[in-house]
């Protein structure tokens, strides 16, 4: 598309808008980028006053932890091929080995295997081989860039952060599954019913969306703590105490997420022509069969997008999980608050940084892979009305 002469931009305008964009990108990425760098340095370097020292890490290098020229070259090459294969080979393999109809599950499975393999090769095999080769190379093998993974080892192995990680995975998996099952049904019902009741239900959901979460948690907390006494008449002696239970938190988060989920899924369902399920109904399907056999197969993009946002809600939640889960069942985000109390030395502080980066890494990958879905999900409700 060629723009007419009147619509063309002057050089000054193009320059200033380019400069503004560059500045914004720097602003958006810098804090995250910087804590990622800090997490790989020894405490002295991580909190050094000179930015150059934070990047190169002389004290870290002095401790004997660092990357040589060879490490950097080989590491970048491995990274490059890993990313390339993720986009070229992996889709083919998933399609080849996945039983038909299970493509979503196949993708999750494939991505997890690929991720684990990458971590094993990059952080396990590579240092082992390069450690041997570096010794033989002389000047090329001496470290030039300070870098240490000791904080990550401390966080994940010594402080048992993997427990929090597993709890996070449990909670988010639960939130996504239940949200989508309940939400798709409701979204479909609301999209296909033109009744006033449907309209008022949507307005009610909007009001529920606005409620501060603390209001809801103030309601759950006493009930959850006393739940075994309240439920005793129904369940007898084995009545559970809901406080501290991950599945109780899942139910709460699903409820908090429902208003948003049904709004979003409804707008996706409205984009699917109603003729499609009418045709299925003429062919003898019931409403539910039409929903399951005809509509759901074309709804996958909408479901994946909504699932992403449910994932974000479950994964990012601090308030609900920190108040309703006890210390053993804590998820990652509230667990990081535990580092504040321990934060007496700079080593603790850098460990907290490493934990924060660990929490961020999956989100980073998520945006990278699903950017298109996230953007379409955000705009689905807004632009189409």
């Amino acid at each position: 598309m060629s723009t007419s002469k009147a619509m063309q931009q002057s050089f000054a305008l193009r320059f200033s808008s380019g400069a503004f964009l560059a500045f914004w990108c720097l602003l958006a990425a810098f804090p995250i980028f910087w804590i990622a760098i800090m997490s790989f340095k020894s405490p002295v370097d991580a909190f050094a006053a000179s930015p150059w020292d934070v990047i190169t890490g002389p004290a870290t290098r002095g401790n004997g932890d660092g990357l040589s020229v060879l490490d950097i070259v080989v590491g970048l090459a491995v990274l490059y091929f890993a990313i390339r294969w993720a986009f070229t080979r992996l889709p083919g393999l998933v399609r080849q080995y996945c039983p038909p109809g299970m493509i979503a599950l196949g993708w999750i499975f494939g991505a997890v295997i690929y991720g684990v393999a990458f971590v094993l090769v990059f952080f396990g095999l590579l240092p082992l081989i390069l450690g041997g080769v570096n010794g033989l190379l002389g000047p090329l093998g001496t470290p030039v860039l300070g870098l240490t993974t000791e904080h990550y080892v401390a966080v994940w192995a010594e402080n048992e952060f993997y427990r929090n990680f597993l709890n996070s995975m449990l909670v988010t998996a639960g939130v996504v599954t239940v949200s989508l099952t309940v939400g798709t049904l409701a979204g479909y019902g609301l999209a296909r019913s033109g009744s006033d009741l449907a309209f008022w239900l949507l307005i009610l959901a909007l009001i529920f969306r606005a409620l501060p979460h603390s209001v809801l948690v103030a309601g759950y907390l006493p009930v959850f703590i006393n739940s075994s006494e309240i439920l005793r008449p129904i369940f007898g002696e084995g009545a559970p105490t809901l406080y501290g239970q991950p599945w109780a938190v899942i139910a709460v988060l699903v409820a908090i997420n429902q208003p948003f989920t049904i709004w979003m899924l409804r707008s996706f369902f409205q984009n699917i022509p109603a003729e499609l399920d009418e045709a299925a109904r003429v062919d003898g399907c019931s409403h539910f069969q039409a929903f399951r056999r005809v509509i759901m197969p074309v709804m996958w993009p909408g479901v994946i997008t909504t699932g992403l946002f449910s994932f974000l809600l479950g994964y990012n939640d601090f308030l609900v999980t920190s108040l309703l889960l006890d210390a053993q069942n804590q998820t990652m985000v509230p667990a990081i608050a535990g580092y504040f109390n321990r934060e007496t030395t700079t080593t603790d502080q850098v460990e907290a940084v490493a934990a924060a980066v660990s929490i961020t890494a999956p989100l980073f990958l998520l945006v990278m892979v699903f950017q298109r879905q996230i953007v379409s999900g955000l705009t689905a409700g807004a632009v189409k009305g």
Binding site: L204, V333, I359
Partner: protein, 341 residues
């Protein structure tokens, strides 16, 4: 669709929302008028310690909780009316402070301090988020097609990232001799500590909010810009409209429903700010309404949670959001009715 089928589809979702949103709401409302206290009694306790010749015994009167036959403390729930609200609002202290005309005294009361911060935080950041979001959307829309993907990727990061971590990542840049504090110190030649006084912490929190919310506004505006009618725009050019006039009279009116939509979401989400307080550890200087409720609900040193006060402050928080949302909701309603005619 028959009502029965509709109910079968929508039922589970409505059930969950009623059970986990509406029911807690009702229970919070009731709790805010009640107070649960442990029944205590005063007992005479004689404690003896071995002395040099004889035992030294002292008798004192102690207050201990009454236990039932299972060894659990007995609690009693009483109807206290507006007492919890009074405890949160502290109206007597407020009037005293207003009478004395002392702003500082008003800010000594947690609720009013939280309300002041929450409102300024919500309302001050709103125009900034809208403005920055629109600016990014317009410049990205003007940029070459090939670089739009990476820019959208980078822009989404602050929005997607866990809010506590986002706040922390900015906190670490400024804390102590953090890299940006060091830079500022070198630049101004003064010794700067960003977290020692209230206003710098607050400033950083505003920055954080704009940083983390502008991407949402950007994406929505960017999508809206794709639907701007090119013919209208070109006829505006032919009529001699400058860039600024085109923005003012063609683009912004076109985006108006989106501006209201973003304002609605921003008010909802910023009003319940909580993570920034945790991330910046700003409790000593500024607190938000949601943090106040959280604080009441966290067990204190004795392990007690101030549930009834938390309920009262939660109800007050909710009343606030209703007031804030009246304007955008009325506008949406008018647009809805207007489009129906």
């Amino acid at each position: 669709m028959k009502f029965k089928t509709f109910a079968a589809f929508v039922g589970p979702s409505i059930f969950m929302m009623l059970l986990f949103i509406a029911a807690p709401l009702v229970s919070v409302f009731i709790q805010s008028f009640q107070e649960t206290i442990t029944i205590q009694e005063q007992v005479e306790v004689e404690t003896c310690t071995p002395g040099f010749v004889t035992q030294t015994c002292t008798t004192e009167i102690k207050t201990v909780p009454v236990l039932d036959e299972n060894g659990k403390t007995i609690t009693e729930t009483r109807w206290v009316g507006l007492q919890s609200y009074q405890n949160v609002l502290q109206m007597d202290k407020l009037w005293e402070a207003v009478g004395a005309g002392s702003w500082n005294d008003i800010m000594q009361i947690d609720f009013w301090r939280a309300l002041r911060f929450t409102l300024t935080y919500t309302l001050l950041t709103l125009p900034l988020v809208l403005g920055v979001g629109l600016a990014i959307a317009i410049t990205v829309n003007n940029a070459t097609r090939s670089i739009r993907g990476p820019i959208i990727f980078v822009s989404l990061l602050p929005f997607i990232i866990t809010p506590v971590i986002g706040a922390l990542s900015i906190y670490w840049l400024f804390v102590g001799d953090g890299i940006l504090t060091a830079l500022l110190e070198r630049w101004t030649g003064n010794n700067i500590s960003m977290f020692a006084q209230g206003w710098t912490v607050e400033l950083l929190m505003y920055l954080y909010k704009v940083w983390s919310s502008a991407p949402f506004a950007f994406v929505i505006f960017y999508a809206g810009l794709q639907t701007v009618n090119m013919d209208t725009l070109e006829s505006a050019v032919i009529d001699g409209a400058s860039r600024w006039e085109r923005l003012r009279h063609v683009i912004i009116p076109h985006l108006m429903p989106l501006i209201v939509f973003i304002a609605l979401i921003h008010l909802m989400d910023t009003y319940r700010e909580f993570e920034a307080i945790v991330g910046f550890r700003s409790q000593a200087h500024v607190i938000s309404l949601q943090w106040l409720t959280y604080d009441f609900m966290t067990p204190d040193d004795a392990g007690n949670r101030a549930i009834s006060r938390a309920s009262a402050s939660a109800m007050l928080t909710m009343i606030g959001i209703v007031f804030l949302l009246i304007w955008p909701l009325r506008r949406t309603w008018r647009d809805h009715k207007g489009s129906a005619h």
